[in-house]
């Protein structure tokens, strides 16, 4: 039972990172019907920006968690702003000229942008792994313990910040003027334009917002899970998050969050299952993710929370 709860906790932790990335896929799909494959790589750039900011500030281990969080705010904001700018630039240079082109053209372009970012990062940052400095208290001091169950304070922070960012996103989309415009563009771009909405500006804003979330995800992931930062980081995470967005229903914001959590939980449970004879579940982590995708697409083609309906012509 302890192990079961521990796996759920692990799943929520990794799932919240997937959810942050998945939101970017889903928002861009919502307004543009474009799968922005470069999104995972924006996440990777976010991790690098966070790392270089922390490196430049010479961040060192802080005695307490609040002090550590304060210290991490600067790299977090730097990543979010840097990635938002990157998202705007990508949209302006790569996707806007293709707004009227067939969908497939834009999709291939997205893959091109992804390759450009990965190889550009390899060139600029070199391919050897970077490690984010320890800022939060480590080891036993960094964990909460309930009997046999341990929760890392770092990851608790990760989940809370992710939830907070999602809350802000929800507020922007549901309660602000620009959010209303986003929803209008997602519903019907042409009609929105006729109503006087500057659709280009709204699309740019959506890209920037999605990229900022990915940047935050990248920085938090690098800083709080001790992962090695590599140019290929975005590929794996981006693919999983994309699957999460589709499982949850691409275009649906709550769907992306749900999909992210489901992906995290399925991954955690597959990895955490003991070996059965020669069959080793941890080898099948990625396979299970894709089987999940296929099953969901067969049963609910629009995803768990997606709306299936008539596409306007």
């Amino acid at each position: 039972m302890d192990q079961f709860i521990q796996l759920i906790i692990n799943g929520i932790q990794i799932g919240s990172v997937y959810a942050l990335i998945a939101l970017g896929y889903t928002m861009v799909y919502g307004v543009l019907r474009l799968i922005n494959f470069a999104h995972g790589d924006v996440f990777m750039i976010g991790a690098y920006i966070g790392f270089f900011t922390a490196d430049a500030l010479k961040l060192r281990q802080q005695p307490s968690l609040p002090a550590a969080l304060l210290a991490l705010t600067v790299p977090l904001l730097a990543s979010m702003v840097g990635c938002a700018l990157l998202g705007l630039i990508i949209e302006r240079l790569a996707y806007r000229p293709l707004r009227k082109a067939p969908k497939l053209t834009a999709l291939i372009t997205a893959i091109g942008v992804s390759l450009f970012l990965v190889n550009g990062a390899q060139l600029l940052f070199k391919a050897d792994p970077k490690f984010f400095p320890n800022v939060t208290p480590q080891g036993e001091a960094g964990t909460l313990r309930f009997g046999e169950i341990t929760i890392s304070r770092d990851l608790l922070v990760l989940v809370i910040v992710a939830a907070l960012l999602m809350g802000i996103l929800w507020y922007i989309v549901q309660r602000t003027k620009i959010g209303k415009a986003m929803r209008a563009v997602a519903h019907d771009t042409d009609a929105a334009a006729l109503m006087g909405i500057n659709t280009d500006a709204v699309i740019s804003f959506t890209f920037g917002l999605g990229a900022a979330l990915a940047g935050a995800g990248g920085m938090l992931f690098a800083a709080l899970t001790y992962v090695k930062i590599l140019p290929l980081l975005g590929l794996q995470m981006g693919l999983k998050a994309f699957v999460a967005a589709v499982v949850g229903g691409i275009g649906s914001i709550p769907g992306a969050m749900l999909g992210g959590l489901l992906m995290g939980l399925s991954e955690s449970f597959v990895k955490g299952s003991p070996r059965i004879g020669l069959f080793e579940p941890s080898r099948w982590t990625d396979a299970v993710a894709f089987v999940l995708l296929i099953v969901v697409l067969l049963v609910r083609p629009a995803g768990l929370l997606g709306r299936s309906g008539l596409e306007k012509v």
Partner: protein, 410 residues
Amino acid sequence: MRLTRSALFQTVAAVALFASLGGVVGCKSETPETAGSPAGGASAGGSAASQDTSGNEIVVGHFASLTGDTATFGNETNDGIKLAIKELNAQGGVLGKTFKLETQDDQSKAEEAKTVVTAFASDAKMVAVLGEVASKRSLAAAPVLDKAGIPMISPSSTNENVTKVGPYIFRVCFIDNFQGLVMARFAAETLKVKKVAILRNQSEDYSVGLANVFAQEFPKLGGQIIADVSYSGNDSDFRSQLGQVKGAEALFVPGYYNDVGTIARQARELGIKAPLLGCDGWDSPDLVKGAGGPGGALEGSFFSNHYSKDDASPRVQNFVKAFKTEYNGKTPSGLAALGYDAMMILADAIRRANSIERAKIKDELSKTRDFKGVTGDITIDSERNASKPAVVLQIKGEEFVYKTTVKPNA
């Protein structure tokens, strides 16, 4: 048009595209191609017969991971080789010719390793090739060179299949069977632990080989494997696997240095205090950095290696001194020492062959007996493997401190 259908199609197309992309970039060639692979044979077949032995230079190729996931491996090894060549050339080279090193980067990818050695194989001037550290990449390159009839010496690939590729493939390090046994013995006899868990990287031949040997040998010494779990090369979260290893008195993690740090930190966070045990894949200046710096999660853990810089014998101390002078006070890792030894053994074989003909060098390499290397007395056995002792090092701060030596067939 229905949204659902078009969305479904686009999604599936996109996933297919992206997955194939991942295949190219993510480098997962698990099975090495056999010696008869057309890629190596076609370009190399002709050049085998037409080696150009003219000129005053002995060209030695080195394929190495200068960038990429395990970048310190390639750079450390290359530094060792460069030092050896500098010393050899300072003494006038061998047979009146000087050595010229051609190092090519394989970006830590098996496919790139194969591409690089295919170019080496078509170079008529190429006398011999050194490389690689990672077994997977040596396994990808070896068939090409063996087919072309160019001697290849791997400085530090320990997976036993590497030299089984063919008669031209050698190595100057011990193999996993021995290394796995060393750690099993160390755990049972020196640490005196009974319950050990294994965490293996199932996407690396190196890690799987070591884990298998350990799992086989440790129970024979009276121990018990309480869990044997795996991760893959791209994983970043090991907590779910680590959840299964609670209760172990030691954790055997035969991975590469760039994953070990993260694993150790996550293990400590879960309250696992047992020391981690590893092998020569840990040997990197970046190992401790990844574990949160000196005194971090890997403090007090152990790994087997090819040599210890603390060895008092003059050949080790002379090497350490020369290396530090050459590279601004940097301490040579085991990989640097093996790179140095591989180059020196090659020079020795060329001297004895009294020729730079590839086939003759191959014959002399296989006759190497008790070569006084930095990493011990090296004898190449009938399977072209080196038989020699291993050392166990303990991590203290940023230093790897000598703990004990385990001899072969003891």
